[in-house]
């Protein structure tokens, strides 16, 4: 899990266009409040798919799926379960 969180932070740093440092952001912090636009969330999603070798189904393309580091981590755990 913590390894995933580290990878998620790196992706957010590169693609999230956050106004705050992704490395020090609390896992529960609201990423949209931290400056992530809807367009940046697409880039984050595509980078996550590449990093974790998963595909987000449309049903998971919810605002809540990308609202925090912990939310993203939960979705990644769900998508990688059983792989």
């Amino acid at each position: 899990m913590s390894e995933n969180v580290g990878k998620i932070r790196s992706i957010l740093k590169e693609h999230g266009r956050l106004t705050k440092d992704a490395e020090s952001l609390e896992e529960s912090a609201d990423l949209y409040q931290a400056g992530m636009t809807s367009h940046a969330s697409v880039n984050v999603m595509l980078a996550l798919e590449g990093e974790f070798d998963v595909e987000f189904p449309d049903s998971m393309l919810k605002r809540s799926s990308f609202e925090s580091i912990s939310a993203i981590s939960s979705v990644i755990t769900e998508l990688t379960a059983g792989k």
């Binding site: 809807s38 367009h39 697409v42 595509l46 049903s59 919810k62």
Partner: protein, 121 residues
């Protein structure tokens, strides 16, 4: 009641996404019809992305694919929205009709506004 949604997108950021993720980004966000017209036009791609986000805001759509919201260009140049799959179903569920769309872009930004009549919102 009437509902409305608006979105503003940086054209350069859309071009960056195309440069970084290529067809993966394009296929995930846009339909074949949209790409046939706008693939090589970052300003038109950005306007279409704004239209999809404006539609989501107007109809409060969540958990739908971007390519389930399509901007269709008429021969006159006027654009309109077509919804597919889960987006269509969600719009029907709230009784959304008479979707109207307007797009604009200038220099660095593209914007879109969507208005609809909504029976059950």
């Amino acid at each position: 009641m009437m509902v409305v949604g608006i979105d503003l997108v940086s054209i350069a950021r859309i071009a960056e996404s195309v440069a970084t993720f290529g067809d993966k980004f394009l296929a995930r966000v846009f339909t074949a019809g949209e790409l046939a017209y706008a693939r090589a036009k970052p300003d038109s791609l950005a306007a279409r992305f704004a239209a999809k986000e404006a539609t989501k805001k107007a109809l409060q759509l969540d958990g739908v694919g971007w390519n389930e919201i399509e901007v269709v260009r008429r021969p006159s140049g006027a654009c309109e929205l077509q919804l597919h799959g889960a987006a269509r179903a969600a719009a029907d569920a709230i009784g959304a009709t008479d979707l109207a769309l307007s797009l604009s872009h200038e220099d660095n930004y593209a914007t879109a506004i969507v208005v609809a009549r909504c029976e059950k919102a």
